[in-house]
């Protein structure tokens, strides 16, 4: 067995890495926006907003309660029967985004609920509307609190994005599969790819740790908590 790494793989693996990075970054970013909206509806959706609360809850339960792989397949192979056809990349990105939004919604909900009740009371007492209170008082604190669980989700998504190779997206896993199939050097290829994932996750972890430090509220041991 020859354990040598072949430099010929590098261009393809780099392309794969780039695609993995795109899939993760875009789905995490869109998922965060959508997730915050879902979480806000789940926490504050009462009165006239109650139907939206139900809708948001149903969404979260559905996408957390079904396998990501099933969601990917349903979107890529299922939607065309309804006349909706996306490229593999868009299908994969859509599935990842819809999936992570549901998970992120739960992290955001937990963070929003751990902001102390008095903060909302004080904001309302000043004359802010509920929406302004959420925007200027609750979310800035909740977003700080959410960083640790959110970084777990990011790490999960870097790895989880690999499932889209099954619909033909040549991200890191897809490229590895192709190279391995051509060269029969499975062990070396997958070890190298594992290192790529590890490096990517290490970089993300360091970035988030920096963000957490930068946004820490002076005087508080745990960010956002008095």
């Amino acid at each position: 067995m020859n354990l040598a790494f072949s430099w010929d793989w590098l261009p393809r693996l780099s392309q794969g890495l780039l695609l993995t990075l795109e899939l993760t970054a875009i789905s995490m970013a869109l998922g965060a926006v959508f997730g915050v909206l879902l979480a806000v509806l789940r926490v504050y959706g009462r009165g006239p907003l109650y139907p939206l609360y139900l809708l948001a809850s149903a969404y979260v339960h559905f996408f957390r309660g079904t396998p990501l792989l099933v969601q990917v397949m349903a979107i890529y192979y299922g939607l065309p029967t309804l006349g909706i056809r996306f490229t593999p990349f868009i299908s994969g990105l859509l599935a990842l985004t819809l999936n992570t939004a549901a998970y992120q919604a739960e992290y955001f909900r937990g963070a929003i609920q751990s902001v102390r009740a008095g903060q909302m009371q004080a904001a309302l007492a000043l004359g802010l509307t509920r929406l302004q209170a959420i925007r200027y008082v609750i979310l800035p604190q909740a977003l700080r609190l959410v960083i640790p669980p959110w970084s777990n989700e990011l790490i999960y998504m870097v790895k989880g994005s690999a499932v889209v190779y099954l619909i033909g997206v040549l991200e890191l896993m897809g490229q590895a599969k192709n190279i391995a199939a051509r060269t029969f050097r499975h062990f070396e290829v997958y070890v190298v790819v594992a290192m790529f994932y590890l490096a990517l996750i290490l970089v993300f972890t360091l970035i988030l740790r920096w963000v957490e430090k930068r946004t820490r509220i002076p005087g508080l041991g745990v960010p956002g908590r008095a």
Binding site: G118, A122, G127, Q132, I217
Partner: protein
């Protein structure tokens, strides 16, 4: 008349916390509400700016009925300051930003105007040098003074104080009471729930004694402390004086 409360009722489940409370407040007046805990004093204050919705009864701020469903409650709340027992400063904002937030987002002041106004109010409570500090970097007394500045900056017609010194270490109570006394002297209209009998006696124009959801007795401090009409008032004052001391 600046504030008029008429027959206010509030019930939590089986527990009727307010059983028909009526009183009024003139402009520039300071009234202190005393009474055993669990008698609805805090609920009463929260009903006045509708942080808690009363079940029944009416409240007027000047000639506006603020319990009316047609009223824009946000606009009303901006005219009523509220000082909480546990301060509730926004933990992610500096003292300056705590005071500026309402000025910019509710009153629509520019950042420059808001800064000038906020600094003026921080100076008024003696904390101009702490403008850049975060709440967690301030003592309890300082935090409460910032929260008073936050309320003052909105130019309220009335400030409600909900046990403003109850969460403070004893040596920090004085600085907060001093700020409140200055405010009362400057003509601010104040409604204060407190156990600080010294403050009640020297600063209040009138004292309201509440028990079990009703006003038992009200009158000027001298009358209440010297000749309480109701035996329950006398009993409460005796016990609270033993506990907290009469004068400060």
């Amino acid at each position: 008349m600046l504030l008029r409360v008429e027959d206010l009722h509030k019930r939590y489940g089986k527990d009727e916390v307010l059983k028909g409370v009526s009183f009024s407040l003139e402009k520039g007046e300071t009234k202190v509400i005393i009474g055993p805990s669990g008698t609805g004093k805090s609920t009463l204050l929260r009903c006045i700016n509708r942080l808690t919705e009363p079940d029944r009864g009416k409240i007027w701020l000047e000639d506006v009925e603020i319990t009316s469903p047609r009223v824009n409650i946000h606009r009303i709340r901006a005219q009523i300051g509220f000082v909480f027992q546990d301060f509730n400063l926004f933990t992610h904002l500096t003292a300056l930003d705590n005071v500026r937030l309402g000025l910019m987002r509710v009153k629509g002041l520019s950042k420059q105007e808001a800064t000038a106004r906020a600094m003026q109010e921080l100076a008024r409570v003696g904390l101009a040098d702490k403008a850049k500090a975060y709440p967690a970097e301030l003592s309890g007394g300082q935090q409460q003074r910032v929260s008073i500045a936050r309320a003052l900056a909105m130019d309220p017609k009335l400030i409600l104080f909900d046990e403003p010194t109850s969460a403070l270490d004893p040596e920090l109570i004085g600085e907060v009471l001093a700020v409140m006394e200055d405010l009362a002297k400057s003509g601010m209209t104040m409604l204060v729930v407190t156990h600080e009998m010294g403050f009640a006696r020297t600063v209040a124009d009138e004292i309201i004694f509440m028990e079990k959801g009703v006003i038992v007795e009200q009158g000027p401090p001298e009358q209440l402390f010297r000749n309480p009409k109701h035996p329950r008032t006398a009993e409460f004052l005796r016990r609270i004086t033993d506990l907290y001391g009469g004068e400060r």
